[in-house]
Symmetry: D2
Subunit: 337 residues, 4 copies
């Protein structure tokens, strides 16, 4: 079978190699990978290691949709032929994540654990959930990280109520899931972008307002759109000093879900409105396996279709990563056939 | 009657003047002030105005305990002779505060509204609540701002559960209320201070752990005390870059209540642990009238006694403010007789 | 002006009389009534008094939409010409209702307070909220009781999450609001009814499943539809022994909102599934003024249109009440012109 | 080793037999049982089977404290010599219980799974948690069912806030844990009992009020004690028609946790106060493994000591059961040495 492997951080990029199909051990399932969706984090891991102790040769990628091809001894949750998704943080079933204050939890596929950019993987059955019935493999592969992150922010922690407003920054994978999930809960959605064309595409997906962030101050635009009320829930996807702008834009008792780090690894903001408006600022670390199951159920019930900007064959991973680096409208997916 | 009045921000300080006792208008009560507790904010308002449009002559002070001396037409909530407390944010009865995203709510006594450093005040009856039965006037006067701020953080927003840990920074008024309320809910309490003597006094009040923040890194001390688990709820009373240390010290899914601004009006912190540990960071804007009534009830039920560092007669306000400026262990109170 | 008046409980029914247009006192607004929606409770009050001490002549009706025609001294919240709605429980602004364990809160318009079946009413400004911009008066008049009851159950107390299931019993006013609000939050909706035609109309409104409760056991049907999972949130509109069926039908950790009393004033149910499934059973007492404002905002944002079965002129109240008694699909409204 | 075994439901009672010490299989630990606390449910299982399909010979008992004596292959959570507690519902780690609406979850030790009235048991390591450091084995054995039930009601679902009131019915095991946990959270506690002596003992444990339920109507007594406000949280330990009395006694927006079934398997109550006061009524099904770990932590932090009425040697199980049948003040424990 084919598998992408990296021999060292930051040098040369991953190589597509032919290796033996793994055998599922006791409690494991062998999954034939149909699609893998990419995250910007995959680039960071390959280029910098992100401080993780990777095992080389290292296979990147965390989010797969596939089909169970074989089961090891003692497997009870899945049978051969069932469609499954991977979980981003193996072992986080429900409740708080696994880790300490000193060593925060960050054991993920394509990181501390092996990745999924391969034709087959063999992992413990607990690392998978049932795939949705209403999505193809490429669409389904976008749920374990991008979809679940937006779901955790807007549904698990929410609640987003009908008539509230939600603002998403940009039009990447998490942003568009946020747009769709907020609309599914009856909320107005404001999208910020530096591109008129992307704002139009966001409106076609249901966004109620678009702000071109280079043509006007986005916080002033929020005041205008909301008649000074502010926005009830912000998906903070830029980070850095942008958190301060979000604190200015948020409504009284609103929520800011901090997800992205594009503008740096230090967040800053003003104390005054933070104290006076009593917003909740909360980091989002993807989510639990139980929440992913709830998302799958919601996708099937509501007919939500994830937005895929482009699909590449497994062999074309380098082109897919290049697309990702330039910025995508929604998700980039790599598929096997 | 006597009343402290300021004629302009930042010049000369307040003057003690003799003025006519006010008449309660329709819906108002006349209250004979027995005690006023001081907040550091009172100094900031007198010295800088804090951007508020004050009406001069301006009387500072927000937190009183007193006795109803007369009632205006149509008053139904109070009778002459009843003991009352003021509310810090008049008109905020329950639910979200009053304001917008653009103009956050900050209409308080001794600010946008007149203050209480006087022998009598006449205000609308809705601005008061019944005083606790178990406290003297000086103790009771500490509830409307310092007591309610700690209550809002640890009880209204809480919950603090038995066996959890709470960390309070320093030994000022809000910190010691936080200590006492956390203990009343069965939590362990860690206090940080730059003074061994204050740490000892905090332990005598029930603190389970003290950290001398000049002799050791307080975050490392938290890891040591909690076996790396981190602390479940932090009262962030310093602000500024200290918020970043609190993000390092907090437990997974813990809470940081941002209250103080001693270290500056810009908060900063690291994105990594914010994303991975999913803490809730929330500004605290004192609280509602309904919450103050709940605090009064709790004080009477549990026997909690606010910590007063010193009591001054009304005439000695300048000395009281000087004490406040140097830092107090708990609250400074000014009393009339 | 015209006003319906009842001279005694249970005798003869209300009379349409000509009386003077009231003058708004200090703090009051005079509202020209455009529409009044009827509740089954109005019949109970007129026929039995419901244990309330009514003031005769008594005007029934609680839910109006109208226009401010004049304002009394000191009014600040409304101006002449503004469209308004009444609040069902005057004085309940936010937070818990007003009352005690011994004397539960039940001071409503058309009950302990006067009613609104008249061409004009003069009430305190605090008893009104701004009407939605997107509804006509008849539609808007359905929000204060039926709309708010469903909103309190499914949104304020909720949350209802995308992909969850909600069951509403019957097709009356609260049931159809429940259907629409649940759909607006991304939930599947199951409707029970004794009429195929009503089930079809409910499906046209968005219901995902209908159960004809005379042709099959509705609890077994729920098991079938949900693959034994049960339903996440039930609007219990029948009461009596039907609560026991709802306890059987509810999912683990689901919610049963108890609203209706058609099957009697004593609820009963089995302990076994109550203990093992840990559902939340909660009575719903309409809601707060703040929640009504949230509902108005949601209606304008989502385009929700209340379902009106029939509209009658004010003079035809007896015919409207007769329709109500027979059972309506949605709401019955009485309008003035 | 010795083990109690029942050969059939309802005939002859359990027999103390000598059997081989079990071998821990892969993933299992062998635990030397130091103490088992008894629940009334153990009697019901032995006498009626409670509808469960028991495997005979059946060993009753669900709550043990013991020491790990050996570990099977692949065990990672425990080492030989560690003190452990059993979990009442094996496999319920966190989040909702395991089951469906049709078949509610009730797979427990000493029920669908084997029991613990033996000198040794060998179970999967996931079925245990670490024991508290501050309790002896007898005390610790009371946590998995009685302690956790009260904890789930008053802490997990709570919150109980300082100054609130909690009412517990009777002085059995769950009631006294409820008393102690409510006090640890700063609440007033009202105890009802038919015995002056038990009321005195409850007051010695911290109860603030006692009601002799044969000498006065307990609901009227609650109104008297709370000045008509009602009680904020009731542990409903009687069930049956008593739920109706609890609905009368509960405060507005209060909580009734339904736990006991002494007065029958059908609960009944009045609709009126249920609708008007909006209480939350919720069944309690013991709790999760994660919650048991939180309780253990709280016990160690607060110094809470479970109340044991009597301790019997393992051989004296019949006498212990007879004591249980007559009613105990707190818990009955059986110990091995």
């Amino acid at each position: 079978m084919k598998r992408w492997e990296l021999d060292a951080v930051g040098r040369g990029g991953p190589q597509l190699r032919t290796v033996a199909i793994p055998e599922p051990g006791p409690g494991e399932v062998l999954v034939k990978v149909a699609a893998v969706s990419l995250n910007y984090r995959d680039l960071l891991v390959m280029e910098s290691g992100m401080g993780l102790s990777l095992a080389f040769p290292f296979t990147p990628g965390s989010d797969l949709a596939g089909v169970v091809a074989a089961v090891g001894a003692g497997v009870t949750r899945f049978a051969v032929g069932e469609k499954v998704l991977s979980t981003f943080s193996p072992g986080r079933l429900d409740g708080p994540a696994l880790g300490t204050a000193r060593v925060p939890p960050y054991k993920t596929l394509g990181g501390a654990y092996p990745g999924v950019l391969a034709e087959y993987v063999a992992f413990p059955e607990d690392w998978f959930v049932k795939a949705p019935a209403t999505l193809d493999a490429g669409e389904a592969s976008t749920l374990p990280c991008a979809g679940l992150t937006a779901w955790t922010a807007l549904v698990e922690y929410g609640p987003v109520r009908p008539g509230q407003s939600v603002l998403v920054q940009g039009t990447g994978g998490v942003a568009l899931f946020g747009l769709q999930l907020a609309r599914a809960q009856g909320a107005d959605v404001i999208v910020t972008s530096g591109s008129d064309e992307k704002l139009e595409r966001a409106k076609a997906l249901g966004a109620t307002h678009g702000i071109h962030r280079e043509r006007e101050d986005w916080v002033e635009a929020v005041y205008r759109i909301t008649a000074d009320r502010g926005v009830d829930h912000i998906l903070e996807l830029a980070g850095g000093t942008n958190l301060g702008r979000s604190i200015e834009a948020v409504a009284l008792h609103g929520t800011i879900s901090v997800i992205g780090v594009f503008e740096g690894f230090t967040v800053t903001g003003p104390s005054g409105p933070l104290l006076l408006k009593e917003p909740t600022i909360r980091g989002i670390n993807v989510g639990t396996r139980r929440a992913l199951e709830s998302l799958v159920r919601a996708v099937d019930a509501t007919g939500l279709k994830p937005v895929i900007d482009a699909r590449y064959p497994l062999e074309a991973l380098p082109a897919a990563l290049e697309h990702l680096r330039k910025g995508a409208f929604g998700k980039i997916v790599v598929e096997s056939h």
